[in-house]
Symmetry: C2
Subunit: 429 residues, 2 copies
């Protein structure tokens, strides 16, 4: 295939006519497909249905510490759950605090606490004139929504296949005391699928923040969420690296079972230094008498240990692989060589990030919608939803079937082509 | 029995010698009992164990709105759960938002939101010089801990058998714009067991707050938690009364299943105007993608409707009645006529509040502890834990067995007598 950028005006006009005709025909087909939502399919949820049977009215309800999980208490989680997360995330048990459903709400609470109560005795952020966060882009819209909601200024940091631009990160963090945090999804990043390189993790751990209350928000949401099992990614352990670099309190690592068991009824965990945990407990003890310990025990009884979780994740991967393949095959086959878009093949996670030519992302998403294929709104993966270059599109392949994905992706690539031709023709006009 | 206040010094000295001898003997018995904890006993938890079987791997997982409860979404709760709480709390379904475990964390979040995001567009409290809350006393220590944690100034309001002193409440709320809220447990109050009279509820609804963002925090924690079923209390519906009084947005009513099913795995709900819910959703949508919907459905499947809940509460009452009786009988028998303490017989809830002579509460609790009976620390039921008159003691009779309670109460009344004699002798000295 000839790259679009090398075509003459005549070639482009002819191509546009052909693409437009195909697009108009597609529009008439009444397609209704959705590649916008990063959530598990029903078949994935069914994998964990047996978890609802392991804990029942005949169960003992008492954990190792002899506390009845049905009653009040144990605000930082049951011991067994701490052990499971410690093994899974490779950290000491006293670095783990186990919560209820959703790590998102743990992150929200961490920021909320920092705003009102401060971090380890620091000035609460609401008393400061300016608080800034670094946001690797494209990134997770719900991270950015939290910081935006608290009026925190967000600074975009470009990300490449190794992680964020660390020169820029160091420059901000080590010099500006208003920079209090950076959002990260270090493994199978949302939406790029990027896996942070060892060098990037080490440079994170070696930061010398101007602010004492600077923390790395290390949302390890996809820690065990491989898609291609033969090509599992491994990242350095942020806890270990921070410890080695003399920054043992600089990170908050988050994880959850939302995409392991049920997004609607999972268990979340925070991993950080015991000193940070002690600080966080000061407010959590005001906030609750305890998170759902019955659900914590249910998870432990179902998985038993990290090996149990990993075996379970193989089943998820088996469901997800044909879905990712459907999209990636279509992109490669239809767009390879045209130089009108790029993407990184993810090895895990829930998304494929697609980069259009400059100024085309919004147009592609609009064209898709008109033809019956819903995509995440362009710009969603940027702070303030502002992707100034207008290039970033997030593809979420987990919910539709492989067959639906093939259809949806056919629409998508056609829209990319159409928008790209329009773009080149406009440039020529 | 002769009232202690009418005894001569000689009589008091003789009595003291006798009481001291009995106390010293008791101390030698190695008693280890606890009347400090307002939590259900194991037999109560067992009542709800079958709830863990109704939802299992064979369940449909889909509610009326066809959403899979295991997946993301429905941030304000599943429809069926809203319906259950609406019927139970007698309000329209669109006035209900259903959360996860613990209404305490809902209250914390309401205050936290008000601090940082404001209420319905008001100035966030963290931007104000002074924010004040009214605190009926004695009251719930965890309420006071929340407001204290956010640096909110707490003002004690005396409570009698009809509820808080409403003259004082009106004076503060209607004149001081810094007064942003008042904590209430309107039914079977913690710890007094007081049930707010119709007049008190109507005067609450008729407040004319100086602050637009003043809210009544109506923690209806014991709405269906009767102990004496033949003598169930009924209070006016705060939602209806506020509506009638032209103050439809002035209240946040809270409730939960913590002491209906499991404190460790319950479901909480907020009841307020749809306008307030819309305002709250603006931050909750940033905070979470959804609370535990599987547990919400589990509760609905177990209870089916309000009648199901009420039938279940009869079983709780049957367990609690002999426990309350054990304490109340002992108090009446041992202290009646002595004029060294008073208490209100509660008709429901989890506590009995005891008032000692002035300056005796701490001493009584210390004497109890020395003899092996743990009581809630004196002063806990006051803001800043400061009960200046030192008279208030909270008795929690739900955890021990009736037999244990009889023993523990025997120790307690002896300590009350001893401390009271000491008090009168000191006054004579």
């Amino acid at each position: 295939m000839k790259a679009y950028g090398k075509m003459s005006k005549e070639e482009l006009l002819a191509l546009q006519a052909e693409l437009q005709a195909r697009y108009d025909k597609l529009k008439g087909e009444g397609i209704q497909l959705d590649m916008s939502r990063g959530k598990p399919g029903t078949d994935q949820l069914d994998l964990s249905a047996p978890m609802l049977d392991v804990l029942n009215s005949k169960s003992a309800f008492k954990g190792v510490n002899n506390i009845d999980v049905r009653n009040y208490g144990l605000m930082d989680g049951i011991d067994e759950a701490k052990e499971l997360f410690a093994e899974l995330m490779e950290c000491p048990k006293d670095h783990v605090m186990v919560y209820g459903n959703s790590s998102l709400s743990v992150m929200y609470d961490l920021i909320s606490k920092a705003m009102v109560h401060g971090i380890c005795g620091s000035t609460p952020w609401c008393k400061l004139d300016k608080v800034k966060f670094l946001c690797p882009v494209p990134g997770y819209d719900r991270h950015f929504a939290i910081t935006e909601s608290f009026g925190i200024e967000m600074i975009s940091i470009p990300i490449d296949e190794n992680g964020p631009d660390m020169d820029l990160v160091e420059q901000y963090v080590n010099n500006d005391p208003a920079v209090k945090g950076i959002w990260n999804i270090p493994k199978y990043s949302n939406p790029t699928g990027v896996v942070y390189s060892d060098e990037v993790v080490r440079r994170f751990a070696g930061l010398r923040p101007a602010a004492d209350d600077f923390r790395i928000y290390w949302d390890n949401a996809y820690a065990v969420h491989h898609v291609y099992m033969e090509d599992k990614a491994q990242i350095l352990n942020i806890a270990d690296e921070c410890e080695k670099a003399g920054n043992p309190h600089m990170y908050y690592e988050l994880c959850s079972t939302s995409k392991i068991t049920f997004p609607g009824a999972g268990v979340a965990a925070l991993i950080t230094s015991p000193e940070n945990i002690a600080d966080i407990k000061k407010t959590v003890t005001i906030q609750t008498i305890g998170y759902d310990k019955v659900n914590q025990l249910r998870h432990v009884m179902f998985f038993k240990n990290a090996a149990g979780v990993n075996a379970h994740m193989e089943k998820h991967a088996a469901i997800l692989r044909p879905k990712f393949d459907a999209v990636l095959d279509c992109l490669e086959k239809e767009l390879g060589g045209l130089e009108i878009g790029s993407w990184i093949k993810p090895r895990g996670g829930y998304f494929i990030a697609f980069e259009t030519l400059e100024g085309c992302a919004k147009r592609v998403v609009a064209l898709c919608r008109e033809a019956g294929v819903v995509m995440t709104p362009a710009g969603s993966t940027y702070p303030y939803k502002r992707d100034d270059a207008d290039t970033s599109i997030r593809i979420a392949p987990t919910c539709p079937t492989p067959k639906e994905l093939t259809k949806a992706c056919a629409v998508f690539v056609l829209c990319v082509k159409l928008a790209s031709v329009e773009k080149y023709l406009t440039k020529m006009a």
